[in-house]
């Protein structure tokens, strides 16, 4: 059961925030509201009258619109087509619709061209398309499921401006987020959900972020211990002048110089799609750089294959564990072999050593606290956090020299998250060099020894995590350095100055990929 005994009320013309940890049941609740899932019991009332929502169409008719945590867009259709889909009766699918979209876009400051192909849009634009879709249908109640997870602070500001505009027009917004500072800055009311039930409804002016966080988790928050630097001066991985040519003349990566020392965590900050994925692919050997070299402990590995690189001691925690890290329909012990098909204890010569792999999987399950009934269940039946711990355990089991970790805690709950951080810190302590890529700025700041910013395929800035703020990073990530004065300030910044940097973020990391966890098959 994902939800039980939930009740909350939303006032018209307000922004109502819903907070809760990973898997608390927020998305499920909203899906019920939107008619995608059905409640087993209970009632939903809109404007005082009870409604039954069997399908999204019912919800749309009731004036409810939803922007999903994962964008629901058809990449190969145009913005116009995506917007009018399902609501063709309103203004047709041609000129009339185009004019209407332009009008709405104008009214609410949502700047998109109806004739662009969605595939060509960035995340911010996609989100605006999603909101347009909802407004186009004349929705009076908007549900936004974690709309800020993939946005940089400046884009978040723009979104909030849009929301205030909507509110001013008399629309109601239900807003889901883990980022308590954002919630406190934009919401008029807050409802907290824990393990499927509503535990509190609070007024944002009466709570601070710490209180809110403790309401969410239901206990004291873990505090990440600050550990002293373990950085050595031995370079384990070095990239020199790496360039990767893209399709239309633009370089995906341009003149990248990067050193990772033993015992160092180098964080890379950047808006999605600025070359992080390509950077990882170049290091891992999935793509060969057009120019430049990659050295692993002095050996040139630029033209090595993935397998050779992995054998040489580069561990890899992929960004998307379902697509790149696991065989969802294979049992855990076979997933233990994945990525290390040539190494002990998985194989002997050309043969799979099932016994060795199984006993080592047992060890990982034990040591890394993977919650599973056995190593014979399929990877797909584990929860996201446990899947991730299995991957981390696997990658740590081969005396790696370098670990490439992409979004290692994305969509993972508090307990698993801090476990993963501990594991990474411990590995760093033992002399591992880590490249950490994350969309979660607090995580980057909390874990890294150095932070580099990637923008349009170039490394544009270097920051010291002890001094940098997420606003600085946000500005650097969008290329608008120095203009960070207007970032949303925590409501109680004065009350607990150290708090935003050291606590909220890492403890309650955003989880843009959380819904990945449900196996689509």
């Amino acid at each position: 059961m994902a939800n039980k005994d939930i009740s909350f009320a939303v006032r018209r013309g307000t922004v109502h925030a819903l907070v809760g940890e990973n898997g608390a049941g927020k998305s499920t609740l909203m899906k019920i509201l939107y008619g995608v899932q059905r409640q087993d019991e209970g009632t939903i009332k809109v404007n005082g009258s009870e409604v039954t929502l069997h399908s999204p169409s019912d919800a749309i008719d009731a004036g409810i619109g939803m922007v999903f945590q994962h964008f629901m867009l058809a990449d190969n259709l145009t913005v116009l087509e995506n917007v009018v889909l399902g609501a063709e009766k309103l203004h047709g699918i041609g000129g009339g619709a185009r004019a209407e979209i332009r009008r709405i876009a104008e009214d609410f400051g949502l700047d998109v061209d109806p004739d662009d192909l969605v595939a060509d849009l960035g995340v911010g634009d996609r989100q605006r398309v999603e909101i347009l879709k909802v407004l186009y249908r004349g929705a009076k109640i908007l549900i936004l499921d974690e709309p800020t997870a993939v946005l940089v602070p400046q884009e978040v500001d723009e979104l909030f401006d849009n929301l205030r505009e909507l509110k001013a027009e008399g629309l109601t917004v239900i807003f889901i987020s883990h980022k308590l500072d954002e919630v406190l800055s934009v919401a008029d009311d807050i409802t907290v959900i824990r393990r499927g039930t509503t535990v509190a409804s609070v007024d944002p002016s009466e709570v601070n972020a710490r209180q809110l966080a403790e309401l969410m988790v239901g206990s004291q928050l873990p505090t990440p211990e600050t550990s002293e630097s373990t950085v050595t001066d031995r370079v384990v991985l070095s990239m020199r002048d790496i360039t990767l040519a893209g399709g239309e003349g633009r370089d995906l990566l341009h003149d990248i110089d990067l050193d990772i020392h033993a015992g160092e965590i180098v964080g890379v900050a950047g808006v999605e799609g600025n070359g992080q994925a390509e950077l990882v692919e170049v290091i891992m050997g999935m793509r060969e750089p057009t120019a430049g070299t990659v050295h692993l402990e002095g050996t040139d590995i630029s033209d090595w294959e993935v397998r050779e690189i992995r054998e040489a001691g580069v561990g890899y925690i992929p960004e998307d564990r379902h697509r790149h890290g696991l065989l969802l329909e294979a049992p855990l012990w076979e997933n233990r072999i994945l990525g290390h098909q040539t190494e002990r204890p998985n194989v002997k010569g050309g043969l799979i050593d099932a016994r060795g792999a199984k006993s080592d999987t047992e060890r990982i399950v034990r040591e890394y606290d993977v919650r599973t009934p056995s190593i014979f269940v399929t990877a797909g039946s584990l929860s996201g956090g446990n899947q991730q711990k299995l991957i981390v355990g696997r990658e740590m089991s081969h005396a790696s020299k370098v670990l490439v970790a992409s979004h290692p805690t994305r969509g993972v709950d508090v307990g698993a998250q801090s476990a993963i951080w501990d594991l990474m810190r411990q590995a760093r302590h033992e002399g591992l060099g880590v490249l950490l890529i994350s969309a979660d700025l607090e995580e980057l700041i909390g874990l890294s020894d150095t932070i580099r910013v990637i923008l349009r395929g170039r490394l544009t800035g270097t920051f010291d995590p002890d001094t940098v703020t997420s606003q600085d990073l946000g500005a650097a990530m969008t290329g608008a350095d120095g203009s960070h004065g207007d970032a949303p300030a925590p409501a109680d910044a004065g009350g607990d100055a150290a708090y935003p940097d050291s606590l909220t973020g890492p403890a309650l990391a955003p989880s843009p990929a959380a819904d990945d966890i449900e196996d689509p098959r």
Binding site: Y34, F68, M72, L73, D111, D116, G122, V271, L455, T478
Partner: protein, 423 residues
């Protein structure tokens, strides 16, 4: 306001560049004109007059239409995200049922009957893939086996004992009517027979397209236009395509994904069945066991060739029908002439690869093959019948080899979708 940096210009939508060629009609016009000039040059050089005679064009039509119909069936299906390898089976069902209906109630009902027979196949495929979530390819393969069995079984059950019929063939049927543009056939033929560069070729093509054209061919053309219009210009089509691109998005907007997939597969079946009807009522006048001869598969290939678009599909089926027609009509002689064309094209491609793209291996390979083909052309004066028969397949393969990388199928094509799973 956009601070997001990943925006790239949409390819092909820049209106400034080459304003004339940007118009698709103009572009197609130029391509067709170029093709005619190329063919007439080839004809004059090689003396293979049947290369673009009106008869060859008409025959190409006759062979292309069933493929095009099967392909159109595939297009409807795959645009809604359901892969249809069962086109062959649906087509076979179409041949039997059109023959059955035509025998009892005349050709018009026969045409309808063909569509109905295919529809039954579509219904099975739809139930299996959409409702039960069976892998699309498995269902298609099973459907092909069933289609074959059912048609043969029903034929022996219903055609045995009829005059001229038997377990493997129906009695002779009445042809579906055909039309000619009056008054221009003979003058054009005279012009064509003069074998003047370009002029005769144009006359032949116009004559081929206007003389003795079956109503079913016209219906097919109409269906292509209708398909384009419905799929790209109506709300229904938008929904149908959205289901093939992103069923989760469509469902989240209240589109009934199952319904559209179901309808698309049904349409697909009837179109393939119509292709079967063409075989029994236009290309010949009876049902025969094995009559489809793999045309369903070829239709699928033509659709992929055409990048899941009606225009491209039409081009693909025309190419296939044309190559099949010329090799059937004049056998080795026309195919021999085509060798020269292939040699020249490969030469150009090889040079382009070498000097413009700097791809040595591909370039040299193309040049070597060009040389061999040219040698073959000059060393022999015909191509053996057995090899001439492979021309349509070789051509399709070659063209795909050079063009396949630009093809893009619907994003959710072939994926089994379950209600509510996309969220």
């Amino acid at each position: 306001m956009s601070t997001v940096v990943t925006r790239t210009p949409t390819p092909g939508t820049a209106p400034a560049r080459g304003s004339f060629l940007a118009n698709p009609w103009a572009r197609w016009g130029m391509i067709i004109l170029g093709a005619i000039i190329l063919m007439s040059a080839l004809r004059v050089i090689t003396g293979a007059n049947d290369l673009d005679s009106s008869g060859a064009i008409a025959a190409a039509f006759g062979l292309a239409v069933p493929i095009a119909l099967a392909g159109l069936g595939g297009l409807w299906c795959e645009r809604a995200g359901v892969v249809n390898i069962g086109l062959e089976g649906m087509m076979i069902l179409g041949t039997w049922s059109s023959a059955f209906c035509a025998y009892h109630w005349g050709p018009w009902i026969g045409i309808l009957g063909g569509a109905l027979g295919g529809l039954v196949g579509g219904l099975i495929h739809a139930i299996a893939t959409v409702y039960f979530g069976v892998d699309h390819i498995v269902s298609g393969v099973a459907l092909n086996i069933i289609g074959l069995g059912v048609a043969k079984y029903l034929a022996s059950r219903f055609f045995t004992g009829l005059p001229g019929g038997g377990p493997t063939q129906s009695p002779p049927l009445e042809y579906a009517p055909s039309l000619s543009l009056p008054g221009i056939g003979d003058p054009l033929l005279t012009l064509e027979r003069k074998h003047i560069f370009f002029v005769s070729d144009l006359a032949a093509i116009v004559r081929g397209l206007t003389t003795n054209v079956s109503v079913l061919t016209l219906i097919t053309l109409g269906l292509f236009i209708a398909t384009w219009y419905v799929l790209w210009r109506t709300a229904f089509g938008l929904r149908l395509r959205s289901v093939g691109e992103s069923p989760a998005a469509a469902e989240s907007l209240g589109v009934n994904v199952y319904k559209y997939k179901f309808l698309a597969v049904l349409a697909s079946g009837s179109l393939a069945g119509l292709g079967g009807a063409f075989l029994t009522l236009v290309a010949s006048n009876l049902f025969r066991d094995g009559q489809t001869g793999g045309r369903g598969y070829i239709g699928l290939a033509a659709m992929i060739f055409g990048n899941w678009r009606p225009g491209g599909l039409l081009a693909g089926s025309a190419l296939f029908g044309y190559t099949d027609a010329i090799r059937l009509r004049a056998g080795g002689q026309s195919v021999h002439a085509v060798l020269l064309l292939v040699a020249v094209l490969l030469l150009l491609i090889g040079l382009w690869q070498l000097f413009r793209r700097g791809r040595v291996v591909q370039g040299v390979l193309a040049l070597v093959v060009a040389g061999l083909t040219a040698w073959w052309y000059f060393a022999a004066d015909t191509v053996p019948n057995e090899l001439a028969g492979t021309l349509p397949y070789v051509t399709t393969l070659l063209v795909l080899a050079f063009a396949a990388q630009r093809l893009r199928m619907p994003a959710a094509d072939g994926l089994v979708y379950r209600k509510g799973e996309g969220h």
